[in-house]
């Protein structure tokens, strides 16, 4: 049993304990890094626990590993990284997700808007959608291969399918949860029909639509791995299947980690959408979250209020200047 995992774990735990005493702002990467270090340490220890001794014919004991440890995983990924295979496969997977997700959004958002707005539409289509939603995309694989063969289009079809239902359902819910006061205001000012939809319904629904897009993207990225195992010949899912067949489990785990990292990147990108002014109102303000930090943050909030208040208190805006 090697010693370094315990040292690293100790350092990580020490960081957690100290962090509570330190003032904000901590360097943002510190705590996640400590967690990652702890995770790698635990991984290594688990691997070592899973090895067993085997007495060779000449009497010596050899330790047989059943699961790759962190360092071996990194080494196992060296080849695909160096010869560009990993990049090529990652791009292939991301491409398929992008196209499939794009198709799902392009069809799903309008359909969701229609179903949400027109109650007859909801009555008609909602049962069918809710019945098809729980069918895992993986169950669609046989049909996908039947219809599209074993090309990119089969994988893209599966991604589009997987993303479509969360987007439609989310959009529909978004439209239905618009506070009625918005619609009343709009009607009051003479907005009707398509103009009402464009100026009020759609913008009001946007934050929740973005949330459903985010969830759908997560699902799409999960599905691509399964989709690529149906004998498509590139992509990260294919890499895992190939590594498994080649008995190279270091590469299997390394590919999984790559998939996870890219997933984080994709999520980060889509969360950037939440920062736009037109939708920012729909997402909880960091300052308004109820956390143990809210007391400290509230002080900051007060300062903002005072600034605006001071502006208003100037003679002329409020009171008649005497």
């Amino acid at each position: 049993m090697s010693n370094w995992p315990f040292i690293v774990a100790g350092a990580a735990i020490l960081t957690f304990l100290l962090a509570r005493r330190l003032r904000d702002p901590l360097p943002k990467v510190l705590l996640p890094l400590a967690v990652a270090a702890l995770f790698v340490a635990c991984w290594h220890v688990t691997c070592e626990l899973m090895t067993y001794p085997y007495k060779q014919p000449d009497g010596t004991i050899r330790w047989v590993e059943t699961f790759p440890n962190p360092w071996e995983t990194v080494l196992g990924m060296r080849e695909p990284i160096q010869d560009g295979t990993l990049l090529r496969f990652a791009v292939a997977s991301v491409y398929r997700v992008a196209v499939g997700f794009g198709i799902a959004a392009a069809i799903g958002i309008p359909v969701g808007l229609c179903i949400g707005w027109f109650s007859r539409g909801a009555q008609a289509l909602n049962p069918l959608i809710q019945a098809m939603r729980p069918i895992s995309p993986i169950a669609w694989i046989p049909l996908a291969v039947l219809w599209f063969g074993v090309k990119d289009s089969a994988a893209i079809f599966l991604i589009a399918l997987a993303s479509f239902f969360p987007i439609v359902t989310g959009t529909m819910t978004a439209v239905r949860s618009i506070p009625v006061v918005f619609v009343r205001s709009a009607q009051n000012f003479g907005l009707e029909g398509f103009e009402l939809f464009r100026r009020v319904v759609f913008p009001a629904a946007m934050p929740q639509i973005i949330t459903s897009l985010r969830m759908a993207l997560g699902i799409a990225w999960m599905v691509i791995v399964a989709a690529e195992m149906i004998a498509v010949d590139s992509g990260l899912g294919y890499l895992i299947m190939d590594a498994r067949n080649a008995n190279n489990y270091e590469r299997v785990v390394g590919s999984m980690i790559t998939i996870g990292l890219i997933g984080v990147g994709l999520d980060f990108l889509i969360r950037r959408l939440e920062k736009f002014d037109e939708v920012r109102w729909g997402f909880p303000n960091e300052r308004e979250l109820v956390t143990s930090d809210s007391l400290r943050i509230a002080l900051g909030q007060e300062k903002v209020k005072t600034a605006i208040w001071g502006n208003l208190m100037r003679p002329g805006t409020f009171f008649r200047a005497r």
Binding site: P179, N188, G190, V200, R280, W309, N311, F318
Partner: protein
């Protein structure tokens, strides 16, 4: 007589049918008329139907029986000439202050729009905040945006349903002063719903006191005090007592 009145409500009843407990009578036999340029308050406790009455006059709902007429014409639906200012603001959080105020003016040429929007933003004291989004404004400021938006279309009537209810008491006082100033300057008819006796006394020309379950008009009191109103005068005190009496509430605790 009805031709000179801005709003005429005659014999209006509003009943909500319910399956189990029997129909709910929200409004019973309401008769009311509002003169042009008048500031009328609907005053009453919760459940007396004042918000429902406002919605009926504004066209967001239809009475079960009786008529609602504005300028001699029956009210069939919402209209930009009768603008609502809601308690929960109703301004659009996805649009800037400027875009919100310009909502009713979207069909006008750009130059004219610009002039009007800027005028009303200044009028409500939000100059400098044109590009700000509602998420960054305080409650009082958001309400000012709603008022500016309503005023910009130069409506005949403005309906206000407890518009200052979500604000703190200091801001409320400021907003009342502002509202009076604007009303005197722009001269439109205002129908104002509140449950606050002081608010009604400070603002209204006439106060329609309503009683609950079922909603009825108890009395219509005229307030003939000139603005600015002295909150300490004996006239004011007498009116206040009368109102509390009508509401059936003891005012000395």
């Amino acid at each position: 007589m009805s031709a000179t009145q801005k709003v005429v409500v005659r014999g209006v009843n509003k009943i909500f049918p319910r399956k189990k407990e029997g129909d709910l009578v929200v409004l019973e036999n309401i008769d009311l008329s509002v003169a042009p340029h008048e500031f009328v308050c609907l005053l009453g406790p919760s459940g007396c139907g004042k918000s429902t009455l406002l919605n009926l006059i504004g066209g967001f709902d239809r009475p079960t029986s009786g008529t609602v007429e504005i300028e001699g014409q029956a009210v069939l639906g919402p209209d930009p000439r009768r603008v609502f200012v809601f308690q929960e603001y109703g301004i659009f959080p996805w649009a800037s202050v400027w875009d919100n105020v310009a909502l009713g003016l979207r069909n006008l040429p750009k130059g004219e729009q610009h002039q009007i929007v800027q005028h009303y933003i200044d009028l409500v004291g939000l100059k400098g905040f044109e590009k700000t989004y509602p998420g960054e404004l305080s409650g009082g400021m958001k309400q000012r945006v709603a008022v500016a938006r309503a005023l910009a279309v130069k409506p005949d009537i403005i309906f206000m349903d407890e518009p200052f209810g979500a604000l703190d008491s200091l801001t409320r006082l400021q907003m009342r002063v502002e509202l009076l100033r604007i009303w005197q300057q722009e001269k439109m008819t205002i129908l104002f719903v509140t449950h606050d006796v002081d608010e009604a006394l400070q603002l209204a020309d006439r106060i329609v006191v309503m009683s609950p379950r079922p909603g009825r008009i108890a009395e219509i009191a005229s307030v003939r005090l000139p603005h600015p109103r002295d909150l300490g005068s004996s006239e004011y005190g007498k009116l206040k007592n009368r109102l509390y009496e009508l509401l059936g509430v003891s005012h000395s605790i």
